[in-house]
């Protein structure tokens, strides 16, 4: 039976005992003899030493080891978070991406001394272009959302260069889209128009048509959608958006669902970001970092300006004459950089290793098995009354499926949240819940190709068991979880102006009466 560790571990501050941490004090003396004491102008000197803990090395190692035992990753068990594509993070890639030789390369080291690395990055650009059916990729963006922002800024530049930006101020986004899509559109200065989803799970085509106007700057689509369903009229959608001179953006978070089977470039998309921390196996690190390369299909913008001239961030090019790989920094038509330097290169090398290992055949296999896993699970759940399968009746899902616990909720009052706590109790991580917003009591489940058949069966059985328990004793699920480090958490206290504690310092200052309520 699953029982998570509970060390009741104090804060690192509470462990502080004045002991010596790691010190590099060794040789300041020899400099002191030459330069004397450190002389900083009085008006620039820090007044109070910081309230930092002082703990010995073993105490720190134990502290973080214990804390990690109170956490849960793919290495611990299934993390079926829908749209997060939590696949296995190969240890081979870990070994290579954390190699000292890479760690020591400074971002401004001269290109001529980095031909091995630049060649690999150049190849990765090409591989990702092949996988997506696009012409150019920049590896620059730090995550999917930054890829989106890059794309939106390119849409903006495109219409600016054509002299239409004052008119073209709307981006169309389906209501099933991830929150980052509308947020990125807004950060790029656009209004967003939301399109409902029809019964079959596609973007409502008529609503889409009537949302179009001369104001339309672009459309952001996730395909397969967050319902795990392929957008069936994608070719019509692409044709029509282009007739309005709008650009079509592909949110690549769900690429695993069609990997090796279909490519955004062949569907008429102009741009696509990829989440390397989803489809290409780089670890998510408890929230990041990731990488969100942006790939584009080239086209003429105006006069001799090509769409690739608008790419944000650097790309690696090969100079045939000099036989050198070089970095081409963004030029005058580009929106510019989105972060410092080239990109999250550790993640890029990780993903490079993944693609190199699997090759096209292995990537296709990964995509297929991810889809088989989803539909196998759906079939296992077919006889359940407590969970329904809204939208797209009879359609096969791709990388993920969204179940609704609404029938269970109506009958017993047990919610998707309660269900997810019941999953935690049996040693699974929970699905993404209450998303997409268009599904009531949503349980969004994605196993990826990394999950075993046996675990998928266990997961389905557990969902059914939870349903049984809920029907017998609807109060019991409200008490869950009981096998995790802590039981349910007081979110009112967590967010209340009088008790909110975002840092240890704030808590202490409030106790001393120096800080009041945060309002």
């Amino acid at each position: 039976m699953f029982k998570q560790a509970n060390w009741n571990e104090p804060l690192i501050y509470e462990l502080s005992n004045g002991r010596e941490g790691i010190r590099f004090k060794g040789n300041n003396e020899e400099f002191k003899q030459i330069l004397g004491d450190i002389s900083i102008p009085q008006s620039l000197k820090r007044e109070k030493e910081p309230e930092l803990p002082e703990v010995s090395e073993i105490e720190v190692v134990r502290h973080f080891t214990r804390l990690s035992e109170m956490a849960y990753g793919v290495d611990s068990g299934p993390v079926p978070l829908g749209s997060c594509t939590m696949k296995y993070n190969p240890k081979l890639s870990l070994k290579i991406a954390t190699d000292k030789r890479l760690a020591f390369i400074h971002p401004l080291q001269p290109e001529s001394t980095l031909q091995g690395l630049l060649k690999a990055l150049y190849e990765l650009q090409n591989w990702l272009a092949s996988i997506t059916g696009m012409d150019y990729c920049t590896l620059h963006p730090a995550a999917g959302a930054q890829g989106e922002l890059s794309g939106v800024l390119m849409i903006r530049k495109y219409h600016e260069i054509k002299g239409n930006i004052n008119l073209k101020d709307e981006i169309i986004i389906p209501d099933s889209a991830h929150g980052t899509n509308p947020a990125s559109a807004a950060m790029g200065g656009f209004k967003t128009i939301e399109i409902p989803t029809d019964e079959s799970g596609n973007m409502d085509y008529d609503a889409f048509l009537s949302s179009l106007s001369e104001r339309t700057a672009g459309l952001m689509l996730t395909n397969p959608s967050t319902l795990g369903l392929f957008e069936e009229r994608i070719l019509d959608v692409a044709k029509i958006i282009h007739e309005k001179d709008g650009l079509l953006y592909y949110d690549g978070a769900n690429l695993n669902g069609i990997l090796g089977k279909a490519r955004p470039g062949d569907m008429g998309f102009d741009m696509a970001h990829l989440n390397l921390h989803k489809t290409f196996s780089t670890p998510h690190g408890g929230g990041g970092p990731g990488a969100g390369p942006l790939c584009i299909k080239d086209r003429l913008v105006k006069d001799d300006i090509m769409f690739h001239d608008l790419l944000p961030g650097p790309i690696v090019i090969y100079d045939e004459k000099e036989k050198l790989y070089k970095i081409k920094w963004p030029g005058k038509y580009s929106p510019g950089l989105l972060k410092s330097f080239f990109g999250n290169v550790q993640q890029l090398i990780w993903a490079y290793t993944y693609i190199l290992t699997l090759g096209p055949q292995g990537l296709k296999e990964a995509g297929e098995i991810a889809v088989i896993n989803t539909n196998y699970f759906i079939k296992l759940m077919e006889d359940s009354k407590g969970y329904s399968l809204p939208y797209g009746n009879g359609r096969f899902r791709k990388h993920e499926v969204v179940l609704s616990a609404e029938p269970l909720h109506e009958e017993t009052g047990v919610t998707a949240e309660d269900v997810s706590k019941g999953l935690l109790d049996s040693g699974f991580y929970a699905p993404t819940i209450y998303f997409p917003l268009i599904v009531k009591e949503a349980l969004m489940i994605e196993f990826t190709e990394s999950e075993t058949k046996e675990n998928i069966e266990r997961f389905a059985n557990r969902l059914k068991e939870i349903e049984e328990i809920a029907k017998k004793n609807p109060n019991e699920p409200k008490q869950w979880p009981i096998n995790t480090t802590v039981r349910r958490i007081d979110m009112v206290k967590a967010n209340h102006p009088k008790t909110i504690t975002p840092t240890y310092r704030a808590g202490i200052l409030r106790q001393k009466g120096i800080l009041g309520p945060l309002r």
């Binding site: 790691i22 590099f24 300041n28 000197k45 910081p50 803990p53 703990v55 804390l67 990690s68 109170m70 956490a71 990753g73 290495d75 611990s76 939590m86 081979l92 870990l94 890479l102 971002p107 080291q109 001269p110 001394t113 980095l114 690395l117 060649k119 591989w127 092949s130 730090a142 929150g179 509308p182 947020a183 990125s184 950060m187 200065g189 994608i234 089977k261 062949d266 998510h284 929230g287 990041g288 970092p289 410092s340 330097f341 693609i355 190199l356 292995g362 088989i372 539909n375 075993t452 058949k453 979880p481 802590v486 958490i489 007081d490 967590a494 504690t501 975002p502 704030a506 200052l509 800080l515």
Partner: protein, 462 residues
């Protein structure tokens, strides 16, 4: 194709699953994709992807070894280069702990009860940074300092709806490019204030003359492309607040062990680069964007990014951690969110928390003092060779500019032959430099003999 990373790729298992689903061929599961779009297997297998075939782990390691060997790798102690990322010593325990699988392979802690350890690490990161900065609220990380700066400018505009922001002439040029990308759709004008060519300090009169109708004044502290720690920081803060504008500081957390903090200087927002806190260089990332603000509800409401808070379990029996103030974020607020960010740099933040904990108060101060001593010693030694060193005579920390007597790029290239990566030819990055100017950096990884070695080589070039 059966593969060790894809358990159900086993032919028998796969077949049993397809049978159960009730389809003959896996292709049936894709029956809603238009035929014109489906890619033919033959075509896919011949695309430029990897080596067009799967490789085993031995083959992959060989190839990757080759790729890594095909670069000139400078020993840390022979790299005298900064400009936004610096060589630092990373204790073995840092990398060891940061690779714990429960953390490395976790997602964002959406289910707090099973993610308490991860949440506590992030809370400790926020807390440790807040004590270094003396700022009360710190978020769980941004991508890097440059994107944090872009977000800080957008936050400032949301707070006071003013569109003019003053920035220093000697701002990190990468940060400037990113800040422009982030702000360009939002009618924010970035206007630079002058820096005194002798001291490297900001020109207060120039700031005053431009300080009307401001959203914010930004100070980089120290300036990453001159190393100067601006003596006018306090005066700039006062001007900003007199004009009802925000004071935004961009910091190096290590320098704050010695110099006045954003808290002492009454900054409204502080951002910074966390790479010096235990992160490798990795040719540009991942790094760590620090983002902090004051104990002011309006500011916190406008803050971008994820925040972790300490609370208790509902029954009050144990302390507990969870994500807080989520209504600012994209998954709830969508187009009205304070930012689009979701994946951030959590593992970098946790790495920084481990680093800070391992060194502790004294250890971190040692590092700051080492940086101060080494850079000041090197500046003095280079001066004794007859160069203008440092070119700006204001207070500096870690980095400084030297005016040499020839094109600096040539000097740098000659030193590469001795295994030395010697600084940045400034003219390639900033408009205010001459081609004889080099930006040099010194940190705790450089021993006195490392520095004497490079001075010696420099002498031999003359």
């Amino acid at each position: 194709m059966e593969h060790e990373w894809i358990p159900n790729s086993n032919e028998q298992v796969k077949k049993s699953m397809l049978d159960y689903i009730g389809v003959k061929d896996v292709l049936d599961l894709y029956n809603d994709i238009p035929k014109q779009v489906l890619i033919d297997e033959e075509k896919w297998n011949n695309l430029d992807i990897g080596k067009k075939k799967p490789l085993d782990q031995i083959e992959v390691e060989k190839i990757m070894d080759n790729i890594l060997n095909n670069n000139k790798i400078f020993d840390e102690s022979k790299q005298f280069i900064g400009g936004g990322a610096w060589p630092h010593y990373v204790p073995a325990a840092v990398q060891y702990l940061a690779e714990r699988g429960e953390i490395l392979t976790a997602y964002t802690p959406y289910q707090p009860e099973i993610s308490q350890g991860l949440l506590q690490m992030l809370f400790e990161y926020q807390s440790l940074i807040s004590d270094i900065l003396e700022m009360d609220v710190v978020n769980a990380s941004m991508y890097d300092m440059a994107s944090a700066l872009g977000e800080a400018f957008l936050m400032s505009k949301r707070i006071n709806d003013k569109s003019k922001i003053l920035i220093p002439e000697t701002i990190n040029p990468f940060h400037l490019s990113v800040a422009k990308s982030y702000t360009s759709p939002h009618e924010i004008s970035l206007i630079s204030y002058k820096v005194d060519p002798n001291t490297g300090y900001s020109d207060i009169e120039d700031i005053k003359s431009k300080a009307d109708d401001l959203s914010a004044i930004y100070l980089e502290y120290p300036y990453q492309y001159t190393g100067i720690v601006d003596i006018n920081a306090k005066a700039i803060s006062e001007i900003a607040h007199e004009k009802n504008a925000l004071f935004i500081m961009g910091v190096n957390p290590l320098s704050l062990m010695l110099y006045k903090t954003p808290g002492e200087l009454n900054a409204d927002i502080a951002i910074g680069e966390g790479q010096p806190l235990g992160l490798g260089l990795n040719f540009g990332g991942p790094y760590l964007g620090i983002f902090a603000t004051k104990w002011n509800a309006e500011y916190v409401k406008q803050m971008p990014g994820r925040l972790i808070g300490m609370t208790t379990s509902i029954d009050g029996s144990s302390k507990a951690f969870a994500m807080i103030l989520q209504t600012r974020e994209q998954h709830i607020r969508r187009s009205k969110a304070t930012s689009n960010i979701t994946t951030n740099s959590s593992l970098s933040a946790i790495t920084a928390a481990i680093y800070i904990s391992l060194l502790g108060r004294k250890g971190l101060k040692d590092v700051a003092e080492s940086i101060w001593y080494r850079s000041h010693y090197a500046a003095k030694q280079i001066k004794s060779l007859g160069f203008k060193s440092p070119l700006f005579d204001g207070e500096f920390f870690g980095d400084f500019v030297v005016e040499f007597n020839e094109d600096f790029e040539k000097i740098r290239n000659k030193l590469i032959d001795f295994g030395i990566l010697f600084g940045i030819p400034l003219i390639q990055y900033v408009p205010w430099a001459k081609n004889s100017w080099g930006l040099l950096s010194f940190t705790e990884v450089h021993s006195k003999s490392d520095i004497d070695f490079v001075i010696d080589k420099l002498k031999s070039l003359r």
